[in-house]
Symmetry: C2
Subunit: 110 residues, 2 copies
């Protein structure tokens, strides 16, 4: 699946669809999920349409027992000994110096 060819909105909706599919696979109702997470039914419904906050997502993932792959998603950056040596043991805390120019998103609808 190549997400880069898809719009942000589409990805959000797809994420919502998958959360719903995950819930149904476990045969849990939206109401039950709301109660288990102490969130409102509306928040669960919104999340399954792709909207919502990070905190909502994480609470739901925990209840759906789907937090496991968070590590693959946004991996912890591990600095190899070689890299660390090259940086003389110094870990960068700010971006600086010459950088690639990122192109800003244009006006076209995403």
């Amino acid at each position: 699946m190549d997400f880069y060819s898809l719009s942000d909105k589409y990805i959000e909706q797809e994420l919502g669809n998958r959360l719903k599919a995950l819930r149904l696979q476990k045969n849990i109702t939206q109401k039950e999920l709301a109660e288990a997470t102490t969130l409102s039914l509306n928040s669960i419904k919104s999340l399954e349409t792709g909207r919502g906050k990070l905190s909502t997502l994480i609470a739901v993932l925990r209840e759906l027992e789907a937090l496991d792959h968070l590590d693959d998603f946004i991996p912890e950056i591990t600095i190899s000994p070689m890299q660390l040596a090259k940086m003389q043991g110094h870990v960068r805390k700010r971006a600086s110096g010459e950088r690639l120019k990122l192109q800003a998103k244009d006006e076209s609808e995403w």
Copy 2:
């Protein structure tokens, strides 16, 4: 990494930290990232402290070229031919019938 033993807040913060590390690895400033995503500097800063919306996260991941692992994170549910046969070709659209009881979160601070 066992996320289930960690609080939601901690996980959110950890996620923010990793996004920041990812950005620094690419030597991009928060301001550059804000411009590239057409988000505000404040939104980027908030995201890196673990707060924010799903839409913000996805926009940033796209710019950091980190959308790839979204699939592993919340995989598309693929129904095996055997399962599909067991369900007689019917895909469940609602939770129903007998279900496990989920325990609601108690008052203790997460």
